[in-house]
Subunit: 155 residues, 2 copies
């Protein structure tokens, strides 16, 4: 994984629709990498961040970014399907070709289930685009260190 203190990769990411680029803001943000939209573990982990969005905001978090190696039609549908369409501070982000995930060193081969390039499950705290904390699950189906509750407690 990317080193603590390193700058977030500058890779084009989209949300909501094609060519709608994601610009990470200055200030504190959370990036959550997930193996796949609509998969059961991810669909149980991600709502924790949405439900706690105000608690994160109270601790100075200006944006939460859920990043999956899925196309933007899928990430957008997933956000709607979870009922989070109106949560503007929680961004469902498409890393369609995995370039962001690979630049973080978070890719893994999910061939046989999802596809050859997917994201490990991780949570990352960055401030002014510098990586401050990283939590990577040892087993991608686990939701433990990368849970909203854990990340929030350690903020």
């Amino acid at each position: 994984m990317i080193a603590l203190g390193a700058t977030l990769p500058s890779v084009e990411l989209w949300e909501n629709k094609p060519n709608n680029k994601v610009e990470f803001p200055d200030g504190k943000i959370i990036i959550v990498g997930v193996p796949g939209a609509f998969t059961p573990p991810c669909s149980s982990q991600v709502p924790g961040y949405v439900v706690a969005a105000e608690d994160f905001a109270a601790k100075g978090v200006v944006g939460i970014y859920i990043v999956a190696v899925n196309d933007v039609f899928v990430t957008n549908a997933w956000k709607k399907n979870l009922g989070f369409e109106n949560y503007e501070n929680v961004h469902f982000v498409s890393d369609w070709n995995g370039e962001f995930t690979k630049a973080l060193g978070a890719e893994f081969d999910a061939s046989g289930l999802l596809g050859p390039v997917r994201s490990k499950r991780y949570a990352l705290v960055a401030e002014n685009k510098k990586v401050q904390k990283i939590y990577v699950e040892g087993v991608v189906t686990d939701v433990d260190v990368s849970s909203a509750q854990n990340v929030l407690e350690e903020l």
Copy 2:
């Protein structure tokens, strides 16, 4: 594309959930290849097949298979999202690694939007697993020759 008269590729495909294998039946079937679950053109084309499922059945079609290079969590969510969960004769099929699509010669590079391996838009009629008719859109966003209405009229 695969030749008329050729046998359908024998590639593992899933529907609804991982490892739930699709077995094409004998008899007449329709296979519809689409570039991407949840994309607007596909989400407008596919319902035509579902709405006309009884008309296809009346012409001897025993199954309709919508095939996308998406993982099975996504194809399953797409079927539910379209409201077609209870249409058992319309199968939403995951060709997660594109092997079926490549074996048909229907792959195209959708890098920059969806991903490097996706399916052209086509409809194919097969009987006893032999290809009888093929309709491939020249432009993948078009829904013309591969529309349910056109395929039904020519059955």
